[in-house]
């Protein structure tokens, strides 16, 4: 049986072991808290993505349709003789539910998933109409698969009746598998009447590399 004096440095060693355990728990706790903070920042599920601050971005208008070209008498063009501060606009019907918009391949887009696109258009809300069953859609397409489909229902916007209303949708461009993949944006009319859209615009926001300022979009 070991002698009692053999144990004289056991207690300090055990206490040191306990202190080390305490330090480990504290370190682990700090790691956990840091991770939790990060998660709170990144895991917020939002209805709409929004580019809050464009100051760290370089903008470029990618497409713009004012529908001022073409003859309204040509029914294949679906134009009407009324527009938003202009003479013509595009008319959506049940058999022509999709408006012209953005169609661009990723190989033609600068940057990667740090880019945003802001798509906007004017829609005419007829006086007395109950709703405007229409979506502003932005989506990425890979081999006929919509990888990130975001839509904004126009009828949920606070529309002013008998006037042109501006509808806007921000969209964070995701990192896609293939350079041939396509970024699309358009209005989609789901009703059985008619709907007018005008001045469809897509503006690309490309992040500017800055050594002093690193602006991360809040998504």
């Amino acid at each position: 049986m070991p002698e009692a004096n053999n144990y004289r440095n056991v207690l300090p060693a055990a206490l040191t072991g306990l202190v080390l355990l305490g330090m480990f728990i504290l370190w682990n706790d700090c790691q956990g808290r840091r991770d939790l903070r990060k998660k709170k920042e990144t895991l917020r599920v939002v209805d709409r993505e929004q580019l809050p601050d464009t100051s760290g971005y370089r903008s470029k208008q990618w497409v713009f349709y004012d529908f001022e070209w073409g003859n309204p008498a040509d029914t294949t063009l679906h134009l009407t003789l009324t527009g938003h501060n202009s003479r013509q606009s595009f008319c959506l019907k049940p058999w022509m539910p999709f408006s012209p918009g953005l169609w661009v391949q990723f190989k033609d887009l600068p940057g990667g998933d740090s880019c945003w696109i802001r798509v906007s258009g004017s829609v005419w809300a007829p006086p007395g109409s109950d709703s405007l069953p229409c979506d502003l859609v932005v989506t990425c397409n890979h081999n006929n698969l919509n990888l990130k489909y975001v839509s904004f229902p126009v009828e949920e916007a606070n529309l002013q009746r008998g006037a042109w209303n501006r509808i806007t949708l921000d969209y964070r461009i995701p990192d896609l598998p293939d350079k041939e993949d396509v970024l699309k944006a358009y209005f989609w009319y789901r009703g059985d009447g008619e709907m007018l859209v005008d001045n469809i615009r897509a503006v690309l926001f490309e992040k500017v590399a800055s050594p002093t300022r690193d602006i991360k979009p809040d998504h």
Partner: protein, 570 residues
């Protein structure tokens, strides 16, 4: 502490004390004192309400439990106390299922735990100084699953077996020292009771012959002594007296005096024991859930190396128990915390642990000693956190035999390591029945282990995996590789496919599939089916990834060893 754990736990839930296996052990008491083994007196859904640990067969008028009545006998004083208190206070005892009975069962486990630790201390005092003895007790209680099976699942048999083992060792030691007959009676009684509580405990009898035996002559003398009528007869008498009520029960339930109640289970793997999974699998592996047990092993090695008495005995017992556990059909013992059949043997493994700590307590370099203490404290801390986490979140381990990714996330969820890593892989070898997507896994054709799954004929979609997208955190995966092994017994096309869906609530947003028929080159051969599936880049808390085996014609085929690997970049 046990009441603290159970303070918000109601009755008839999987966290309540009298549930499932625990109810199977306990039912002998209410069946004897309240229902008189007459099913007409039992509430019709009692067996379902208590988790199916026993069954009530109204056709044959039988209450069936596969467990022996040893645990019920051990907790009977607490049961009777609860009954007496209910009568005196005019409290509705609900035929043995009121809250008071639940709390008394919690108390019973703790009383036997404390008594077991006390007897173990008296035994260890014969070998080690008090500091070492107390350290061993602390290590065994807080560093192993004894903590869980005494404070949380106290109606399982293990804490009672542990108590009886400790009592046996102490009385054996006293008997060896004094050669007084009353000590033999005590050790024989504890051995017979331990055998009743868990029949495999009968191997403890080997300790009687081998403890502290330095020569073969000592062993042969002990055998001769044991075979003397005044010794063996009293042991057999205890066995008979204790087992006779059990035999009456077996006669009642099966018509036979001897009855193997574990139908469909048993030691089916005696020739091919699952030793490695039992010791190291994330599914209840011995060293994985009680890493402090490495101290036992280190102590055994030390004892063998230094030729310290009982080194061979402890090592042999470790090997025998490992073989027994590995041979059991369900080698991971269902919804357990670690390998619970080892718990009672911790009383014996306390010897090598004591020798290891004795060497640790010897004068030596301060820093390695402090680091070793840190490691031991860390393992104790980890065990307690894992125990609480298991109690709070899920009683079953929902991982595959070698799914370390799932295990590490369990460790991280318990707060032992931070931060929690995102889900990267998923595996299912269909050995863990808690993960089985079908009611009955198949043992006909298997690629690995004992089981594969065959889709149920009346169900065209067998769910293989499902996970909410939010489970991944940020970022979400961009694609995943699904790989499984398929066995097609016939030549005819099955129309079966691996079917992936991406859903929002109940709306299908995207789907893809992998047809299995073109991949099957030969029938009666396992073939690999693998495909990459794209996860649409969408943010929503209700999005879900699902993988099915689609079998529209109800064809016969088997699936085994499913693996998913999620990728977060292209």
């Amino acid at each position: 502490m046990t009441w603290f754990f159970h303070k918000d736990i109601g009755r008839f839930t999987d966290q309540s004390e009298i549930w499932s296996d625990r109810a199977g052990y306990y039912i002998y008491l209410p069946a004897t004192f309240f229902y008189h083994f007459d099913t007409r007196q039992i509430p019709s859904d009692l067996d379902i309400k208590t988790g199916g640990g026993f069954s009530v067969d109204t056709l044959t008028n039988k209450i069936e439990t596969k467990y022996t009545y040893g645990v019920a006998l051990m907790v009977a004083p607490f049961f009777l106390t609860a009954h007496l208190a209910s009568v005196v206070a005019g409290y509705d005892d609900e035929n043995g299922f009121s809250v008071l009975y639940h709390r008394m069962m919690n108390l019973a486990a703790v009383v036997y735990l404390v008594a077991g630790l006390w007897f173990l201390k008296r035994f260890l005092d014969r070998y080690f100084r008090p500091a070492v003895t107390y350290a061993v007790l602390l290590l065994i209680f807080t560093g192993t699953n004894l903590f869980y099976y005494s404070l949380i699942d106290g109606l399982m048999s293990h804490v009672y077996s542990f108590f009886l083992f400790a009592l046996f060792l102490w009385s054996l030691k006293k008997f060896q020292e004094t050669d007084l007959y009353p000590w033999f009676i005590l050790l024989a009684l504890s051995l017979a009771l331990a055998t009743l509580v868990r029949p495999t405990n009968v191997i403890l009898i080997l300790v009687y012959f081998f403890l502290d035996a330095l020569r073969w002559k000592t062993i042969s003398d002990r055998i001769k002594q044991f075979l003397q009528p005044k010794y063996i007869l009293v042991f057999l008498l205890f066995l008979f007296v204790l087992f006779f009520p059990q035999m009456i029960y077996w006669k009642y339930v099966s018509g036979s005096w001897l009855h193997f109640s574990y139908r469909g289970e048993g030691f089916t793997n005696l020739a091919h024991p699952a030793v490695i999974p039992v010791l190291f699998s994330p599914v209840n592996g011995f060293f994985i859930y009680a890493p402090v047990a490495l101290v036992f092993i280190a102590g055994m090695v030390y004892m063998l190396y230094k030729k310290i008495p009982n080194g061979i005995l402890a090592t042999a017992f470790f090997l025998i128990v490992t073989w027994i556990c590995s041979s059991w059909k369900m080698w991971y013992f269902g919804c357990s915390y670690g390998q619970r059949p080892y718990i009672e043997y911790y009383a014996l493994f306390a010897l090598p642990a004591g020798w290891f700590l004795t060497t640790l307590f010897k004068p030596g370099k301060f820093l390695p000693k402090a680091l070793l203490f840190f490691l031991l404290f860390l393992l104790i801390y980890g065990n307690i956190r894992m125990t609480v986490s298991l109690f709070r979140f899920e009683r079953c381990y929902y991982g595959s035999t070698w799914d370390w990714d799932h295990y590490m996330r369990s460790v991280e969820r318990a707060g032992i390591l931070s931060p929690i890593r995102p889900l990267r892989t998923y595996e299912n070898d269909f050995e863990n029945l808690a993960l089985s997507p079908v009611r009955k896994p198949s043992a006909v054709y298997t690629r690995s282990g004992q089981y594969s799954i065959a889709p149920e004929k009346n169900n065209p979609l067998t769910p293989l995996y499902s996970v909410p997208l939010t489970f991944f955190g940020d970022p979400t995966p961009k694609w995943f590789l699904a790989e499984t092994w398929v066995f097609k017994p016939g030549q005819r096309p099955t129309g079966a496919s691996l079917y992936y869906t991406f859903t929002k609530d109940t709306t299908l947003l995207y789907h893809d599939c992998l047809e299995l028929d073109p991949l099957a080159k030969d029938s009666f051969t396992w073939f690999r089916a693998g495909k990459t599936f794209i996860v649409p880049d969408l943010y929503d808390s209700t999005l879900q990834i699902n993988l099915f085996l689609r079998n529209p014609e109800g064809a016969l085929l088997y699936i085994d060893d499913l693996k998913l690997k999620f990728s977060f970049g292209w």
